[in-house]
Amino acid sequence: MFKRRIPLFILAFVGTLLIVSVFIPPMENLGEDFTLFFDIIAVFAFFLGGGNLVRIHFGKLRRRKKDWGFSIVTLVAFFFMLTIGLLKVSSVGGVWNIPLLGIGDPAAIAASPTTEGSWFQETFNYVINPLQSTMYALLAFFVASASYRAFRAKNREATLLLLAAFIILLGRTPFGMELTRWVPESFSVLQIPNMAIWIMNSPNLAGQRAILIGIGLGVVSMSLRLILGIERSYLGEDRG
């Protein structure tokens, strides 16, 4: 009863309430209030997530599993970031501020941890930012190698995909512009940059719209399945 029916009731009640609230003017802000609740719940959910990270890496350390040394690095990095972020550690002009420990300027306690000069923001700028962009940049190599192997004009569909990608790639580079500069202005639509623009604004837009409408209808049907209690996988049940 408590384990299955109450969650189903909460879900159906809250879901229906939010749908109905859209049509009742005094309740129209209910969605914003509930979004605020989400934000607060997310912090507690992150306690679980962060706790799980610590538990897993401590477990690897305790059992001396393969690559346990890197678990130490992960844990040190995690606690370092927590410490400098939660204590709002900063050093501006050689002056240290740790307002929560009473060191330095006490007014710094009101500053956001992402203020320029804070260690937290510096770590973001010089550690997270380069790591993140390099991770994504690394994908350029893998995408290039995968497309070399996978892109074969085997049939009409594959040829269309290949051509569209090729034109978009060329159309966004100076090389693409140079390649078709000789095409007279009266046929400017055949210049690669213009072809790229046309592809983006016409057939691509049509495909995007079909996908967006499909996603919209999919979300509506999934929401209905959840609210009506047909979809119960969030409770850890496989059967609908």
Binding site: F2, P7, I10, F13, G15, V22, G31, F38, F44, L48, G50, G51, L53, F70, V73, T74, A77, F78, F79, F80, M81, G85, L86, G94, F120, T123, V127, P130, L131, S133, T134, Y136, A137, L138, A140, V143, E157, L160, L161, A164, A165, I168, L169, N201, S202, P203, N204, A206, G207, Q208, R209, A210, I215, G216, V219, V220, S223, I227, Y234, L235
Partner: protein, 238 residues
Amino acid sequence: MEAFFEHFRLWLAAFLTLGIFSFLYKDNPWYKLTEAIFVGISAGYWFVVLFWDNFHGKFWVGAGEYSINWVVAKLTGAQAPPPPDSSIDFMLWVGAFLGLLMLLRLVPKIGWISRWPLAFIVGSTGGLWLINYFASNVMVQAQATMVPLFSSAFGTGFDQNADAVIGALIIFLGTFSGLVYFFFSKAHTGVFGGTARVGVFFLMITFGASFGYTVMSRMSLLIGRIDYLLGDWLGMIK
């Protein structure tokens, strides 16, 4: 000291960048080290951001601090805080209460209670998204797809130039045929199958264009990293 930190930061970012790039050779300890740093630092970053923005900025300032002060004042007999103004919203305690229920997952015997806040999240997401997605993804997109080609303001003629009219027709045809392709409740045969096939062509162009854009964005990031290494770090590019 400042100069030392300036150099340290430049070298640190370069060390981490090269560590990630070292994966192009093969999986190696340098890459694993940077990966471990990335995981730890990112998790810590998001925890801190959520704590200060959501917990402190929304709950603590909005209700938590006042409530705790009031309870402490009542318990200790100290002077109670002044009556709450409009910035205090006690409803925020609902979010905090549900959040606390979520932590019960850590207590095996009553861990099932953590399904309640989960049901709240799923239910409100479903309720909000049902309306929002239907309005923005279905109605707005359908409306933008079915634009009028004729207008009384233009007599019996088209209301736009030939390019725009052909473009509008292509968009309608592509969207409609794409949707037909996504309709799996009917066998894709005959006219229906032919329309679905046209839809596949449009979808392929879309995927090709998205692929081209993704490659371009990754390339631009790669150029940015190389620019950092050769410019900011080594000073070879002025």
